[in-house]
């Protein structure tokens, strides 16, 4: 099944929809749009994790869970793995993707730096939602220095 193309096209339309519905433009509109996208991603991430077979989700350590995100979740959503994972071993993880599929179709470099966050918000929510369903509360933010390279920072909330 050629899922990835269809999903990517749907994602593009979803980003556009998040900024419609009378939410308006400007900074306020931008923030609301990002919140909407992140929220959607969160629900989808939870749903995805809930549907996985129980056996697939037994992780001994936090790091194993993050590796699951980098390999299996990324593999299922983007047909590739993340390119780099860094951690301070104190609950902060940086997942780097050098060729993020939602950004590759846009001009590489810095031309669309301002627009890039729109295309990352859903994925941030997706990560946060998946972790939440696995019992881990976190906050996920994304940053782009130069398209299509982006970094997702996952900070695990300690209880």
């Amino acid at each position: 099944m050629a899922d990835e193309t269809l999903f990517q096209l749907l994602h593009t339309e979803v980003v556009a929809a998040a900024y419609g519905g009378g939410r308006g433009s400007g900074d306020e509109g931008q923030r609301t749009g990002l919140t909407v996208l992140e929220g959607m991603g969160f629900r989808v991430g939870q749903g995805l994790a809930e549907r996985l077979p129980r056996g697939a989700l037994v992780f001994r350590e936090e790091l194993d869970t993050i590796k699951f995100l980098c390999r299996d979740l990324w593999g299922a959503v983007f047909r590739k793995q993340t390119d780099n994972l860094r951690t301070n071993h104190q609950g902060t993880y940086i997942l780097q993707d050098d060729n993020f599929p939602f950004l590759t179709q846009m001009a590489w470099g810095q031309q669309y730096l301002e627009e890039a966050p729109k295309f990352l918000a859903f994925t941030c929510g997706l990560l946060r939602g998946t972790l939440s369903a696995l019992g881990i509360e976190s906050s996920v933010t994304a940053s782009v220095a130069s398209l299509p390279v982006c970094k997702f920072q996952v900070v695990i909330q300690k209880a």
Partner: protein
């Protein structure tokens, strides 16, 4: 005995070249769930943004159109289909190759006897509504899968065919089946098969 060099092409037989199915069963199902869940979240968000069902339906159709005009390129690249010579072939192509490729289902095609341009796709299974038991309260006119109509319409337009695509029946609304009606609007010249003498 050698085979004849040039076989007379049969009008109804089409040579499909289907792409290989992806490996890894769990990634496969996660991917399908991803699309279905995202679609559900999208419809939920649109229901929040628009009060009237009609507006949500129109927006879904518009979004589908935006997807369809791009998806068709991907489809043509992957499927290597030969040129179609009739609306009937196109309807078969949509049901047996496109739906199979992107949604993993094969709707059956029926044709309106009285008109050469009207076809219906009957969806026995609809993956988009896998997690939907019934329409949300107060949303009885919502065409939950209206995105599909827009996708088909947009894809056809990119190959220079205009068509009206709507849901004729919807299981979510209590009908027995889910039926998508495609009415081709512009006349496509039908080439007759020539015999080689």
């Amino acid at each position: 005995m050698s085979r004849p060099g040039n076989r007379r092409p049969e009008c109804h037989k089409i040579d499909w070249h289907l792409p290989a199915i992806s490996s890894s069963a769990s990634a496969h199902s996660m991917n399908r769930d991803l699309f279905v869940l995202t679609y559900g979240a999208l419809v939920a968000q649109l229901c929040k943004d628009y009060e009237k069902d009609e507006d949500v339906n129109n927006y879904l159709d518009k979004m589908g159109y935006g997807i369809g005009i791009r998806l068709v390129e991907d489809f043509l690249a992957r499927s290597c289909v030969k040129k179609c010579h009739s609306y009937s072939e196109i309807a078969d192509l949509i049901a047996q190759v496109a739906f199979k490729m992107y949604l993993g289902i094969t709707p059956s095609v029926t044709r309106n006897e009285s008109s050469r341009n009207e076809f219906s796709l009957i969806l026995d299974k609809n993956p988009l509504v896998e997690f939907v038991e019934e329409l949300p309260a107060g949303r009885s006119s919502l065409c939950y899968c209206n995105l599909l109509c827009g996708v088909i319409r947009g894809a056809l337009e990119m190959i220079h065919l205009t068509a009206d695509v709507t849901f004729l029946q919807d299981r979510l609304k209590g009908d027995k089946v889910t039926e998508i009606g495609i009415t081709f609007l512009k006349k496509l010249e039908e080439k007759k098969c020539r015999r080689k003498k």
